[in-house]
Amino acid sequence: MDPETALAIFKGGIVLGALYALMATGLSLVWTTLGIFNFAHGAFIALGAYVAWQFSSSDAMALPILPAVFFTCFVMFAVGGIIYFLLVKPFERRADVVLIAVITTLAGSAIIENGLLLIWGPRAKQIQPFLSGELELAGIRLAMSEILLLCLVLIILLGIGLFLRYTRPGRAMRAVAQNRESAQLLGLDVPRLYAIAFGLSALTAGLAGSFVGTIRFMNPAMGAEPLMKALIVVIFGGVARFSSPIYAAFVIGLLEAFSIYAFGLYWAPAVLFFTMIVVLLVKPEGLFGRYQRTL
């Protein structure tokens, strides 16, 4: 492998990692806060892509891309909250809520995906790139849109991290995640905080979706594969801290990029899963810390 190829693959891995970081953060946010696994996360990714397309495409509302993405975030946050109140909240007091949430979120995922098909039809769509043009840096060519993606992802993840750490609702969310009963006894509004967590998760999924929509053709089931990757990232990295799935995402992104080069496209998932199993055998709590619910 000559250095130029290596650099190109590295760049691809980083971009992929940024996308995975965005997806996995949303997933782990719901897992750590509510203690349930949201199988509708993949559908959120697809929905985000379609909503962004609706706002930005010249066939639809034709907004400039940045306001379009901004409105998409807004819509997705609301969708996340609504989905929480419809699919999770009614079952929260049951002892088997984890299992029930698996089924209800799967159902939600099916409903959203079929809804997408009904509303936007089966024709493949693509979102226009956020920025055009390229930048030549130390021998590698970076598309401007990739740079923008990296920056946006980092800003958003940093923003959520700061929100959790320094704001009142963020702190309250962490408190609820760590000890729901104590939080209730202190008078925190638990359903509202859960809805915020779900909303933020959907927001990151929608953003990830709108990025994916610029790279690939969109179809309603486009979220399934990213969901799988996000799951690998979450298990691989652990959820001890807000940041641990983010590191893991970049590791997985790079691993995927290099294994596609070394073993071919069809073997890359096998390599990922194999690595994940090895990591789980050696370090069951995940690569970056304890595999338990904290935030």
Binding site: R94, R168, R174, A175, N179, E181, Q184, L186, G187
Partner: protein, 259 residues
């Protein structure tokens, strides 16, 4: 008769399908503090959890500062209970509303929020106090100097006693009109016990009503005005402070023989 702050009428409850306590009547007047004494496993903690809305009551009413804390009516029929979804059977008590009304419960063996620092925990408690102001941070630090010392430590690195202090501090910041303390000295060393006891007495002297559960009669005596005996899920006796016997005599009263 002075005004009643907390009034519990015929409260029954438990974990489906097992009833833990039944027909509990209780009255706390303004500024009064009561103690609940009873053997382990007789439903004291379950009763308190019901009082603060963590568990839905089966029957009975709770009034606090003239406000009804529960929805009227009994729990649903057996058929309805089988559909125990929030969507179908509405909760009869809401812990958030109860805490915001000022009935603050400091639970037993409180783990609090392990990954939050002490100061963050107190800030969270402050978030909860919406329309009234609770204790200020300075007052808390004066009451528990240890809490001030450890303010930047995470809760999970604190000792049991320190954690209990932070729990009580959080309760005080959340603007209580009445504080429920469930065995605050459980498993603590005698020295820490003394420290906590002194602090709780200071809190008591500010005029705040306290409901205190403890197994230690000597400790209860220092804080409370009225003692309720809790026995097999019922209140089996009520006595004023000056008629309170010692531990041995209480056990005889509860079990009918020397224990």
């Amino acid at each position: 008769m002075s005004d009643v702050v907390l009034e519990v009428r015929g409260l029954s409850g438990g974990y489906e399908p097992t009833q833990i306590f039944r027909d509990v009547d209780l009255e706390v007047t303004a500024g009064e503090s009561i103690g609940i004494f009873g053997p382990n496993g007789h439903g004291k903690t379950t009763f308190l959890k019901t009082l603060s809305g963590l568990i839905d009551p089966w029957a009975g009413d709770v009034f606090f500062t003239g406000m009804r804390l529960n929805r009227e009516g009994q729990r649903g029929s057996r058929k309805w209970r089988n559909f125990n979804y929030d969507a179908v059977t509405r909760r009869r008590m809401d812990p958030k509303q109860i805490a915001r009304a000022g009935l603050i419960h400091v639970p037993q063996g409180n783990l609090l929020f392990p990954e939050l620092t002490v100061i963050e925990t107190l800030a969270v408690a402050e978030t909860a106090a919406t329309d009234r102001r609770g204790w200020a941070l300075d007052e808390i630090h004066a009451l528990f100097p240890r809490v001030a010392e450890r303010r930047n430590h995470k809760i999970r690195f604190l000792s049991g006693g320190e954690r209990q202090m932070v729990s009580i501090a959080a309760g005080l910041i959340a603007a209580p009109r009445m504080l429920i303390l469930d065995e605050p000295t459980l498993g603590l060393s005698p020295r820490i016990r003394q420290e906590l006891c002194a602090a709780i007495r200071t809190v008591r002297e500010t005029g705040l009503s306290i409901i205190l559960i403890d197994q230690d009669v000597a400790f209860l005596e220092q804080i409370i005005d009225t003692l309720y005996l809790f026995d097999h899920g019922r209140i089996s006796g009520r006595m004023e402070r000056d008629e309170m016997p010692d531990h041995e005599a209480l056990m005889v009263m509860l079990f009918g023989e020397r224990h």
